[in-house]
């Protein structure tokens, strides 16, 4: 699934480590999501959308 996590994170000027800490996951997990190796659960996807103050469909594209 295509996503805009990397762009949104860069806009916020957060490192992968900082985003991971805010989400309560590891830096490797954030990278796996950004590189589209891993599709997060709905819970984590909502957490990401809330953090970026976006709708979930603005962060993830089906």
């Amino acid at each position: 699934m295509k996503n805009h996590v990397r762009e949104l994170r860069t806009l916020k000027q957060w490192s992968q480590g900082e985003l991971a800490e805010k989400l309560g996951v590891s830096r490797q997990t954030v990278n796996a999501i950004e590189t589209e190796k891993y599709d997060p659960s709905l819970t984590l996807a909502f957490k990401l959308a809330t953090l970026f103050k976006k709708r979930i469909e603005d962060v993830f594209e089906p």
Binding site: V25, S26, T29, N31, A32, K37, P40, S41
Partner: protein, 140 residues
């Protein structure tokens, strides 16, 4: 809570312990022969690998759970093939590397070792890509 905390071991230490178990098990197998290996020592190795594989990671998130499950699926299939091949080689009397029989503990040892190696390899790949990502952005 206390129990889950006590099981948390950092990945690098787990890999070191895993390498130690593999070295000791291999030396034991080569030194004492398959009969001694199969007299109960194999159970200890399997238990050690189970503890290592099923203990919590430092950050035990959903990606870790997903990778562990996938590693177990792949290792189970691969382990089934490997133990099947060992038994077949034993049937054909290929010497000297193959044992007469393969026990359930042998199969579990192979499956757990494969699962552990796969899981940590995939985690390493995730981390490695993360480093590249950081360099691209000129951060950290």
């Amino acid at each position: 809570m206390l129990q889950s905390k006590s099981l948390v071991v950092e990945g690098k230490y787990k890999v070191a312990v895993f390498a130690g178990i593999l070295v000791i098990a291999t030396l034991h197998l080569l030194n004492s022969g398959y009969r001694d290996w199969n007299s109960g020592a194999d159970t200890a190795y399997v238990l050690a690998l189970m503890l290592l594989f099923f203990s919590k990671e430092k950050i035990d998130d959903e990606r870790v759970q997903s990778l562990k499950l996938t590693a177990m699926y792949v290792a189970f299939a691969a382990g089934w093939v490997v133990t099947g091949a060992l038994r077949f080689a034993s049937y054909l009397k290929v010497r000297p590397a193959t044992p007469e029989t393969s026990s359930a503990n042998d199969a579990m040892f192979i499956v757990l070792a494969l699962a552990f190696a796969l899981f940590h390899y995939w985690r390493f790949q995730d981390g490695r890509s993360a480093d590249i990502g950081m360099k691209d952005e000129g951060r950290e």
